[in-house]
């Protein structure tokens, strides 16, 4: 009976994994085929890989775009983790009616479609003379109600006895945060880092508007430009997409260990 359950479990997970992996596999296969084979639906490895890679690097400045994306995503993610965890902690641990109301108001900002605030935001950054810089991309995206909310909800299950114990040991309130909360909440930080890195890395609309010169472009902008040609070359698009995808997968690989260890394990 137990064994049957285990088989069922694996069968279910295998099917879900296969369905999830399929498009990814297709992309990898696509990298090795010509555009016309891809649109015809060929599903076997071809011999065009190096050809596609060479043409991609001829057509687009992938290296610069990669570095631009990396700079924005890494700095943006670190700032987001810091600012949003501080706020999430503050809203939950020192909960008052006033703060609850403020948070409710902040939540509204999450619900506004970005396209609707883009034009005033653009005007603001133009007045500040900050357009076409990484700062312009990072500033509006680094504090989100979404991530504050995430930290708040996770803090609800944070064992407050630990804080009490810390106070007894004479730690001040900020030290409680940096010395007790931060190390304890590693799994939460790891999940937040993955999600934030991914959304920064893939962010499209605002970088498109805020960055205007070719050497500032991020990877998603390059991919979008490639994909919109009158006669799109899906071979090189696939290569560009795989390059775009890899860093997030890498971050996921690196950080997912945090889920394995477990929070209580790390405290003990």
């Amino acid at each position: 009976m137990r064994k049957l359950g285990a088989i069922g479990k694996h069968a279910f997970l295998l099917i879900v994994s296969a369905v999830s992996l399929f498009p990814f596999l297709w992309m990898i296969i696509g990298m090795t085929n010509t555009s016309s084979d891809i649109v015809k639906g060929k599903f076997s490895f071809g011999s065009e890989f190096f050809n596609n890679v060479n043409r991609l690097f001829e057509q687009a400045n992938v290296g610069t775009a990669f570095l631009n994306s990396l700079l924005i995503a890494v700095i943006g993610t670190l700032l987001t983790l810091l600012l949003c965890s501080v706020a999430g902690y503050g809203f939950e641990i020192y909960r008052t009616k006033g703060k609850d109301r403020l948070f409710g108001v902040l939540m509204l900002s999450m619900m506004m479609p970005f396209a609707a605030i883009m034009i005033p935001l653009f005007r603001l950054f133009s007045q500040w003379g900050l357009l076409n810089s990484a700062v312009a991309v990072i500033l509006p995206t680094m504090t989100t109600a979404f991530m504050i909310f995430f930290f708040m909800q996770n803090t609800k299950s944070f064992p407050r006895e630990l804080l009490q114990a810390g106070r007894v040991d004479g730690l001040n309130e900020w030290k409680l945060f940096t010395h007790i909360y931060m190390p304890t909440m590693k799994p939460t930080y790891a999940a937040a880092a993955i999600i934030t890195f991914m959304s920064n890395w893939n962010n499209f609309l605002w970088p498109l508007i805020a960055l205007r010169t070719a050497e500032k472009k991020t990877l998603p902008l390059v991919v979008s430009s490639l994909a919109s040609s009158y006669n799109p070359d899906y071979g090189i698009i696939m290569v560009a997409i795989v390059i775009t995808t890899l860093p997030t997968i890498l971050i996921f690989f690196l950080l997912q260990k945090q889920f394995v260890q477990g929070m209580l394990g790390s405290v003990k």
Partner: protein
């Protein structure tokens, strides 16, 4: 104490971000709107999509212009068409001129929309050095708003009936059978092809209005009237177009597709016998190297109605110049003496990028007379340019997209056999609701 550590960390991180950004932002080629002479250089910035087509055209034009203006420099910022439209609208709506280019690529249906939505933003070419009588009239018509011409005509999408000679001859049809036919004849041929070869005659995509657009223009009509009213009711061309659309759909000769890659895939894989599309489709058709010598092009089928001709257009764009640009004169001069009046440009544009323009003097050049091995040694460009002179001129108006979406909304009902007249009234009503 640790509060300090934290805020130090925060400030450091912010500074790092700011510094790295500044470090890379100085000395950028930015400042495009007033990118005046840097040490004698005259630089002009252009926004365009598709670097291998539109970008390539600008490069050719730059080379030609440089022969007489060695100090001239052009920077092309390439981005997807939809991305370009977003950036342009955001910039203009925010009233920010910083970051706008000097030259802008605008496709035909957006001309009136931009000119009317952002008055005074785009330079007028009416009395410029460009001789508009040298261009196909329908292209100039599209660029004219209230009697003024707002740009330089660029590529065209004159349509043709691309067909697979092998499939059609297997079904018993020769080249003459496809010359100057009507859409009803096309459907009949399609039925025979389907029966004898098992191949579809064409594709059909209910989410894409390309096909209805081609039919409407071939009879000199459009989704909207010249004064931007819906043109669905009491429009015989519209009625006939939708009747034909339903007939094609019902006949089973068209393979349903839902996207561009599927559409291209259908003819690259040899699933369809014909493709009715703009001249720019040549590049995608030629991607299937195994089909070399198996293709030919005939004139577009016509609507059997008064004014219907065997020629139409799908797509095409134009170059605009910003009126407020510091380099306005230079940009206009550049466009005027290349894309706006150089036969050499159009010959090179055809040979190097496969692009067809509407500049009539170039049509007699050698480049336009070349035959194509891929297309059974047909002088395809000579044919296309000849058809281009027959395309009826229409005003695309301001609300083409709104009208297309109103039509799209009702299309499933029409295909399901709803009363056409009632459907057209619905479309008209929805359209008017949308553009209030």
């Amino acid at each position: 104490m640790k509060k300090k550590a934290l805020s130090t960390l925060l400030v450091t991180a912010l500074m790092a971000g700011a510094l790295s950004a500044c470090g890379s932002s100085d000395n950028s080629t930015g400042n495009t709107s007033n990118s005046e002479a840097e040490g004698g250089k005259q630089k002009v910035v252009a926004w365009a999509w598709d670097p291998s087509f539109n970008g390539k055209a600008l490069k050719i034009a730059e080379e030609i212009f440089k022969q007489e203006h060695p100090d001239f420099e052009l920077e092309v910022v390439d981005m997807a068409k939809t991305d370009l439209e977003q950036r342009l609208n955001t910039n203009l709506a925010a009233g920010v001129t910083e970051g706008l280019p000097d030259i802008l690529l605008v496709n035909d249906p957006n001309i009136q929309k931009y000119v009317n939505s952002y008055p005074g933003t785009f330079a007028e070419f009416t009395n410029s050095s460009v001789d508009f009588s040298q261009f196909s009239q329908y292209k100039v018509d599209a660029l004219t708003v209230d009697g003024k011409i707002y740009g330089v005509p660029f590529d065209i999408g004159v349509t043709g009936l691309f067909y697979r000679t092998d499939i059609l001859s297997e079904a018993g049809f020769s080249a003459e059978d496809l010359e100057n036919i009507t859409w009803d004849e096309y459907i009949e041929i399609g039925k025979v092809v389907k029966e004898k070869t098992g191949k579809y005659m064409s594709t059909i995509n209910p989410n894409d209005e390309a096909w209805t657009s081609i039919l409407l223009q071939s009879a000199g009509s459009w989704y909207i009237t010249t004064d931007n009213k819906g043109n669905f009711v009491n429009n015989p061309v519209m009625t006939e177009t939708l009747r034909l659309y339903k007939a094609i759909s019902d006949s089973g000769i068209a393979k349903p597709v839902t996207g561009w890659s599927e559409f291209v895939g259908s003819f690259n894989a040899g699933d369809v016998a014909t493709v009715v599309s703009g001249v720019w489709q040549i590049a995608s058709i030629m991607d299937a190297e195994d089909q070399k010598g198996l293709w030919a092009v005939a004139p577009t089928p016509r609507i059997n109605i008064e004014g219907g001709v065997n020629a139409s257009n799908e797509g095409g764009s134009n170059w605009f110049v910003f009126d407020g640009s510091a380099n306005k004169e230079l940009a206009m001069d550049f466009l005027g003496s290349t894309i706006g009046g150089s036969s050499e440009f159009y010959e090179r544009f055809l040979t190097e990028a496969g692009g067809v323009g509407s500049y009539i003097p170039a049509f007699s050049s050698e480049a336009y007379q070349q035959t194509s091995e891929f297309f059974s040694n047909q002088a395809i460009y000579a044919d296309f340019t000849e058809w281009s002179t027959k395309v009826p001129g229409i005003s695309l108006g301001m609300y083409t997209q709104e009208a297309k979406d109103a039509l799209k909304n009702e299309l499933p009902n029409i295909l399901n056999g709803a009363d056409l007249e009632k459907s057209l009234a619905n479309i008209q009503q929805l359209f008017e609701q949308q553009v209030q």
